[in-house]
Symmetry: C2
Subunit: 339 residues, 2 copies
């Protein structure tokens, strides 16, 4: 069984069909549609009536060509395997898409890895987008550098040293600091930290939050309790073992995948949460929700960060002033795992 697609025979209506039908000029139709320029209320209504009646849709491509604008924003997703496992980017994309649509923009997605930006170059150099949203920031940020160099409007979801970049981020640093402080205030002294990929700025921020919490209380930081780049199951297991040997009171995990792995490891070793060790995560997702006891975590409105990023980008594109850095809030969800 197979199938072929046959094009519709009947041609689409265009602006000059309307002009003819209504005995007006195409300019007038254009003005009636866009609302720009002077036009009589009567003719305006007449045009709209015709449009509604005949279900006319303007050809965006032609508009694009005339205005040298695509009305598309590009969204760059990471192609790395282990990031497709996290819901962050998908939620972000949802927020971006909705905000874009409500401003009459559409979303073209593409992917990059930390070193390969050819697919980003594709959409940019083919003039497919008016601007770009980067959904994460890197310590050595190739995509950002490329867009800067090409002078393409873009915003980044995340934080970066590069002051020229417009950034939208949840306040990870502050959230992690507050959560850590809360734990320290409850009398704990020794808190282990399992960090994610250190080339991702977000993980650096989370790390700084942890450090600052200790600094503010003038507590010494024990390097042996901090594990960086705990990016796979084996690393998590080794780190957890080591932390338990050091008799930490609490294990902080930078994201929910690390946390989920840590919890399983603890269960396997018959370590009871929170009796023998407490656990908290810097990122909350459905995969932690089912655990008993429930896990204390930071919660971010990821869809919102996407929406704000899209909004900022579209304003940037339209020449408006845009805030250099937007920090969104977080909430701390205290649950039984740290009681």
């Amino acid at each position: 069984m197979s199938s072929t697609y046959k094009k519709d025979a009947h041609k689409k209506m265009n602006i000059s069909d309307i002009a003819k039908a209504l005995e007006l000029s195409t300019t007038t139709i254009s003005r009636a549609i866009s609302g720009k320029g002077r036009i009589g209320e009567a003719t305006r209504e007449r045009v709209w009536a015709y449009i509604r009646e005949n279900d006319y849709r303007p050809n965006i491509i032609a508009k694009s060509l005339a205005q040298s604008k695509t009305f598309n924003i590009g969204v760059v997703l990471p192609a790395d395997q282990n990031l497709t496992e996290t819901p962050f980017f998908q939620k972000c994309l949802l927020g971006i898409t909705e905000m874009a649509a409500s401003n009459d923009y559409d979303v073209v997605v593409t992917t990059t890895t930390e070193t390969d930006i050819t697919l980003l170059q594709r959409i940019v150099e083919n003039h497919k987008v008016d601007g770009v949203v980067l959904t994460r920031t890197l310590v050595n940020d190739f995509p950002a550098k490329y867009l800067e160099e090409k002078n393409i409007p873009f915003v980044a979801i995340g934080t970066t040293d590069d002051e020229k970049v417009i950034q939208i981020d949840n306040n990870h640093r502050s959230g992690c600091k507050e959560l850590t402080t809360l734990l320290l205030n409850s009398g704990m002294q020794s808190i282990g930290l399992l960090c994610g990929d250190q080339n991702h700025v977000v993980n650096q921020e989370r790390y700084q939050g942890y450090i600052e919490a200790f600094r503010d209380k003038e507590l010494s930081i024990k390097e042996e309790l901090i594990f960086s780049n705990v990016t796979n199951k084996a690393f998590v297991e080794k780190a957890v073992e080591s932390l338990m040997e050091d008799h930490v009171e609490c294990i902080l995990c930078m994201d929910d995948l690390i946390c989920s792995r840590a919890i399983y490891k603890l269960m396997e070793d018959h370590v009871s949460i929170p009796n023998q060790v407490k656990v908290a995560s810097f990122y909350n997702s459905a995969f932690l929700e089912s655990h008993n006891p429930q896990i204390t975590a930071l919660d971010f409105d990821v869809k919102e960060v996407g929406a704000v990023a899209a909004k900022n980008l579209m304003e940037l594109i339209s020449g408006k002033e845009v805030q250099k850095k937007t920090l969104l809030d977080y909430s701390i969800i205290l649950k039984a795992s740290t009681k």
Copy 2:
């Protein structure tokens, strides 16, 4: 701190700039680029040399207008909250994006819910895409019906009754049947089933696979062991309790979120896997990987299914014949949870 974007002053090169520089006509340049139509090898090479040297990029928008093609494919993602938690769609999207790019297409994403297809209508009626990939099928498939009615080329990832729809799917039914059969062969008799949303065809397929396994062995199906629409934590917990009261030997979960919830519930109740009850999932993801014992599951190459869908759609768009139904393979990963 704020920032404004300033447009680059220097105008982009176009086809007639090249024509002038090389003292040729725009037609010739166009032919040299596209490779269509007769053209002398010498001039052809001369044009390409110039293009390479000056890093010229054709304006796709103009090409689109001239050819009435966008070179975009639309991808429809579900906007439902609990689906953003699963990695399926993101992986799919990755496959689609890569395949599209390698055929000089780009990907415009949009979202729908089970009842609201306005954002899909947007990209279709604004002529933003040449065709559409639906990333799931529904029992009552509004998006598919809409696209059919509008006569837009589209393919669906998933299975559907509608014979006119071009479908690409992993062989869920067969996979689930094989896994269930395997369990039955190992001597189990009573196997519980926790089903996902029954409006998603994929869950119907999985259900059928389970049923067929029993039928083939002429075993009776106990309705009380099958729970449908187990779409939240509370439902999973109730179902698991009920199954344990019925002393099932194994619990089959339709996806990894259900499975993860079921496992936590079992742990909470101090039920040992696989000693007291065995567990298997119809979908494998990183969130199950950490569990000890590891969980038996079906594994699908999701990126591949996306890639094939994109390929089929692009062939459909270009008027080629396309297979009505493509079924991709699966693998069964047997782990300790069913030993």
